[in-house]
């Protein structure tokens, strides 16, 4: 009795391995993203090893080394793995802080709202005389002052809107931490895909980019993707985002943005982020103000 049951379980195992190998298997599609699995061995970040510039011992002892994480660099659009690259854990392997991300997203939205321009005139700003319209007494009518009273037609507006600035502020160090937390969140879920260089397409027709997106599992079915390029690539942008001359684009599969145009909310919105390596490096460099702090010193070498 033992032999057949062993045989069946072996068969089961073989089938399961063959299922694992077939990438288009729907079950496997549910299980994990194929292309973007992180190659890194995830290392727990001990709290004591985080570089704190405000400990007084810092200039006497060099700061402890920050552990590094691995990322795979792919070619675009073939997505052949080219090489591995290292990133410090305090850039791409930060713990998820929903409160920091929340503050950054709210801050960006408020800055985007910016100045509201609605403006009305109060009675002192309305053009007109200060002459009393009619005598105070004896007319049998209501007492009235000048013609600009907010009660009268043509008068000023009481409690009307005036231009106001809707933007809020966020400390630079917190905002930078939010950028790196957002990238770390993507990285840890395997949704940060680093590509070496994005070349412009040959055509601005969207069939090509559509097939690329669907082929790699980046499209609508898989929660869309954000492509980040260093510079604007006219044909790629027209093909994916559409253009003003009526080209529809393939926005259902994702969006492509220039590096200078993205913010923290963009990084969190879609299913994954496909980013050029130099853009990622530049973002991490620009948003490390809380890491690059130096001890104030009068000794200049």
């Amino acid at each position: 009795m033992a032999a057949p049951s062993l045989w069946s379980s072996l068969q089961c195992l073989r089938k399961s391995t063959s299922a694992l190998l077939s990438a288009r298997d729907p079950v496997m599609q549910c299980l994990a993203p194929r292309l973007s699995r992180p190659m890194a061995t995830e290392v727990e970040l001990p709290q004591s090893q985080i570089y704190n510039p405000f400990t007084p011992m810092i200039s006497r002892r060099p700061p402890p080394p920050v552990p590094e994480v691995l990322a795979t660099v792919y070619s675009f659009p073939n997505m052949e793995p080219l090489r591995f690259t290292h990133y410090p854990a305090n850039q791409l392997h930060l713990p998820l802080r929903r409160d920091i991300l929340h503050r950054a997203v709210i801050y960006e939205a408020s800055v985007h709202r910016g100045m509201r321009t609605a403006n009305t005139k109060w009675r002192s700003e309305v053009h007109g005389s200060n002459r009393k319209i009619r005598p105070q007494k004896g007319t049998g009518k209501a007492r009235l002052g000048d013609r600009k009273s907010p009660m009268l037609r043509g008068g000023g507006v009481a409690f009307g809107p005036h231009p106001r600035d809707m933007s809020t502020k966020l400390p630079r160090k917190i905002y930078d931490l939010a950028w790196r937390t957002a990238l770390s969140y993507r990285y840890r879920r395997g949704e940060l895909i680093v590509v070496q260089k994005v070349e412009d397409l040959e055509t601005d027709n969207s069939w090509l980019i559509e097939s690329i997106m669907e082929q790699h599992g980046w499209g609508r079915k898989d929660g869309k993707s954000l492509l980040v390029t260093r510079r604007v690539m006219p044909k790629l942008f027209a093909a994916l985002n559409g253009s003003k001359d009526g080209q529809p684009g393939a926005l259902q599969h994702g969006i492509v943005k220039e590096e200078a145009d993205i913010d923290v909310k963009d990084l969190l919105e879609m299913g994954r982020v496909v980013i050029e390596k130099r853009s990622l490096d530049s973002i991490l460099r620009d948003h490390s103000s809380d890491l690059n702090m130096t001890v104030p010193s009068a000794v200049h070498t």
Binding site: K15, A19, R60, H102, V299
Partner: protein, 292 residues
């Protein structure tokens, strides 16, 4: 909205695979809900991060509902009462105002204390260069002192820790601090700074060491760099006397003649005209008129 299991089930049915063919350990994954949802919906601030605004007059449950925190009846409920108002009687601060020395604090100079242990600590950390003159600019740049208003005074706490010969140029220094620095082979010079000068020095627009009344040798040694404005010298008698005093290692002490005191008012005994006449004539005449 009903749970979205149907579509997944449909997918698995279209493949027409018997249930046994799917490995048993994968079964729980088949029936879980799979959606790509953004994290944006679940971002929240930490509870207590934002303080709710006090809203008055919004019902009894708000805690500031009925009288809006203004109590009952009278001018205080309905409007404003002027500050110090005593019901029409002469105000308290007019009847019994402050008198005496309360105003002297605004004339006092506000010296930031700097103790020797901190100075040596900063040198040990490599934040101050002991081979160069340490001025108020270096001290502020390395955050050894901060919020400097009228100047920095060097004090002697931790004097046993001083081991490097330091060349310090500072507003004031205590006698023990001077002795300690000089015993270690260094030098202290006190010199006059104003709040404006400190501001300009920190901007790099004023020389931190040399002014018109500095020693001629120091002026020659000074760097060739030109500055936007010149470092001021003291004009009040009190300041001039402080920086003329060699005991304070004042930068103007070279202006004091040999054997004279730093005071601008009291002459040193035995240096006046009358004293000079007395010493020259009277002694000689006294010698001539000797009877015995």
């Amino acid at each position: 909205m009903p749970p979205r299991l149907c579509s997944l089930l449909r997918v698995s049915h279209t493949i027409a695979r018997p249930a046994a063919e799917i490995s048993p350990f994968l079964l729980p994954f088949l029936y879980t809900q799979q959606r790509s949802s953004s994290i944006l919906g679940s971002l929240t601030n930490v509870p207590g991060a934002v303080r709710r605004r006090k809203r008055v007059g919004r019902g009894p449950s708000s805690g500031k509902g009925k009288t809006s925190g203004r109590g009952h009846k009278g001018q205080k409920q309905h409007g404003k009462v002027p500050l110090g108002f005593n019901g029409g009687q002469t105000k308290d601060e007019v009847v019994a105002g402050k008198r005496g020395d309360h105003n002297f604090a605004s004339f006092a100079v506000d010296m930031i204390p700097l103790n020797l242990y901190k100075l040596q600590d900063w040198v040990d950390q490599g934040r101050l260069d002991p081979s160069k003159p340490i001025t108020i600019k270096e001290l502020c740049e390395s955050r050894c002192v901060s919020n400097v208003k009228d100047g920095v005074k060097l004090l002697a706490k931790g004097s046993e820790q001083i081991k490097d010969p330091l060349n310090i140029i500072i507003s004031r220094a205590s006698a023990k601090a001077i002795a300690t620095i000089e015993a270690a082979g260094g030098s202290v010079t006190t010199r006059y700074y104003t709040p404006f000068a400190i501001k300009r020095i920190l901007q790099g627009r004023m020389d931190p060491i040399v002014s018109l009344q500095s020693k001629a040798s120091e002026i020659q040694q000074a760097s060739k760099k030109t500055f936007y404005s010149r470092l001021p010298d003291p004009t009040s008698r009190k300041d001039i006397e402080y920086y003329r005093d060699p005991a304070h290692r004042g930068y103007m002490s070279h202006l004091v003649p040999e054997g004279h005191g730093p005071s601008l008012f009291f002459k040193t005994p035995g240096t006046g005209k009358r004293a000079a006449r007395k010493t020259s004539k009277s002694r000689v005449s006294a010698a001539d008129n000797r009877m015995w």
